[in-house]
């Protein structure tokens, strides 16, 4: 089967998620990684591969020295930030499936609120790739994405209040997740509508993910080895990326029709055909949301509802705990924290272990979709 993996996630670890960690990014990475290795019942010497983001400031060798890992034989990094958050699963799974590595540590750690903030404009974003955007005022991710989202909202008659109904659910889930930045702080639709515009007329402040300090890590090994380890393993059923001609990292402006998210649709086709599963076989969906509209686009692309139906699907309660397909049960990147989407992988693992704060009953499969990468995880 194309894309089939012989791999399992066997350990997870994280720091607290905050607005000011008070320590180095390397310390956050080391704390999360050590916790993940311990959780798996492995020793640092068992880890022989590492995967992180190209944007991660923590050099593999520095982390290796910190953890006391004696030897590595695999390193790779995923580009394009959070859009490839689930590609870290694919990289690690491909490495152990091929035998290139025996146990791969995936990590992502940053001080993304107290240090360099992604949401702020950066006058140094210069050079050929930015000439077509930055001079015209597209100087933050919120603006860049909003110019794309507008087309979706216009085509399907989606209003900002429709977006707010997702945010209310995310904050409701976060309110009962002790790991979440917004633990015990739910909101109403009125609160959402009263928050200030970030980009008129598309997204308000409460539609934006929570810039956070923190680190997360997980360990991937082969299915065979996973059976002998401490935790109930979580199988990597399928994992893929999708990049289509005419697309760009953030400037998704040039496909024939950008009302939808063609890369997410292509990912859905790949994952469903590789796994033989359908949306009905998935009990929980983790859907990356740097900004609210991506949840709508991904719900539709993966077939949980039809085109243009996400606003009604969400309003009917389908994505809440107890609904047809609970989404972002940890509160999402809006409610739990923005650890660049890799915290979504950890929540998927907790749901499949039966150990989530907001546990869904009888979880067999979880989708972790992150824009242009996605993974299907399953109970062994």
């Amino acid at each position: 089967m194309n894309g089939a993996m012989n791999a399992a996630i066997v350990g997870i670890g994280q720091t607290e998620f905050s607005k000011d960690s008070g320590r180095s990014e390397l310390q956050l990475a080391a704390e999360a990684a050590a916790a993940a290795i311990d959780d798996a019942g492995l020793a640092p010497a068992d880890v022989d591969g590492m995967v992180t983001f190209t944007l991660d400031s923590n050099d593999e060798l520095a982390l290796m020295r910190s953890l006391g890992i004696p030897e590595l034989r695999w390193m790779s990094r995923t580009p394009h930030g959070g859009a490839l958050a689930s590609a870290t699963v694919q990289h690690a799974a491909a490495a152990v499936t091929s035998g290139a590595a025996g146990a791969v540590l995936v990590y992502r750690a940053f001080n993304e609120r107290s240090g360099h903030r992604f949401g702020q404009p950066d006058a140094n974003r210069r050079g050929a790739a930015w000439n077509w955007y930055a001079p015209y005022g597209l100087d933050t991710p919120a603006k860049i994405y909003a110019l794309w989202f507008q087309r979706y909202m216009h085509t399907y008659g989606v209003t900002n209040a429709d977006l707010g109904r997702y945010v209310v659910v995310a904050r409701k889930h976060a309110a009962t997740n002790p790991n979440a930045w917004f633990y015990q702080r739910p909101i109403t639709l009125e609160d959402h509508q009263a928050s200030r515009w970030i980009v008129e007329p598309i997204i308000r402040k409460l539609d934006c993910c929570q810039e956070s300090d923190g680190g997360v890590a997980f360990v991937v090994t082969t299915s065979e080895r996973a059976r002998d380890l401490k935790q109930r393993p979580v199988r990597v059923v399928a994992a893929s990326q999708s990049h289509l001609w005419g697309g760009d990292i953030m400037f998704n402006y040039y496909h024939p029709d950008v009302a939808d998210f063609p890369e997410a649709s292509a990912l859905a086709r790949q994952l469903w055909s590789t796994s033989g599963l359908t949306p009905r076989d998935v009990q929980v969906a983790m859907l990356y949301e740097n900004f609210t509209p991506v949840v709508f686009q991904q719900l539709e692309a993966f077939g949980f509802c039809g085109r243009g139906e996400a606003k009604d699907f969400i309003a009917a309660g389908n994505i809440e705990l107890g609904g047809a397909i609970p989404v972002n049960t940890h509160g999402g990147l809006l409610g739990e924290g923005y650890i660049h989407g890799v915290n979504n992988v950890l929540e998927a693992v907790r749901q499949l272990r039966g150990a989530a704060a907001n546990q869904v009953a009888d979880v067999e499969h979880v989708l972790v979709a992150a824009g242009r990468s996605a993974a299907l995880l399953g109970r062994v």
Partner: protein, 130 residues
């Protein structure tokens, strides 16, 4: 943050900015298969020819998408409408819509003008006059 971040022309797009300074909206036209392309690329994705010439565009099109962009650090600065324009030639280009933000609407017919802001000349769009 400057009011307008100036472009930094490179090898593949200096023709475009030279055109802007002459008041002409240009795109690459492949001299092998005659197709237009924007943003610029060194190779034609349709026929892989490296040969191209600058072609002047009509400067007319319609608004495909838009947002209102507030200056990130100067809340009192006049916001700019950022538009994604679909030109009559079928190319899409990001620019600004000059004039009152209330004019911004998908499918609004627009035409190009060239305006200088704080020493930076950019192609801008206004509602079409005819």
């Amino acid at each position: 943050m400057p009011p307008v971040i100036p472009p930094v022309p490179g090898h593949d797009d200096e023709f475009f900015w030279a055109g802007v300074h002459e008041g002409r909206l240009l795109a690459q036209r492949c001299t092998a298969c005659q197709r237009l392309r924007h943003p610029p690329l060194p190779m034609c994705p349709h026929c892989r020819s490296l040969a191209w010439e600058p072609a002047e565009l009509s400067g007319r099109g319609r608004v495909y998408s838009w947002i209102l962009s507030h200056h990130p650090s100067e809340p009192d600065a006049e916001p700019r409408v950022v538009v994604l324009v679909e030109l009559d030639e079928g190319l899409r280009i990001v620019s600004n819509l000059r004039g009152p933000p209330a004019d911004a609407a998908i499918d609004l017919a627009v035409e190009v003008v060239f305006e200088e802001t704080d020493g930076v000349t950019l192609p801008q769009f206004v509602p079409a006059t005819s």
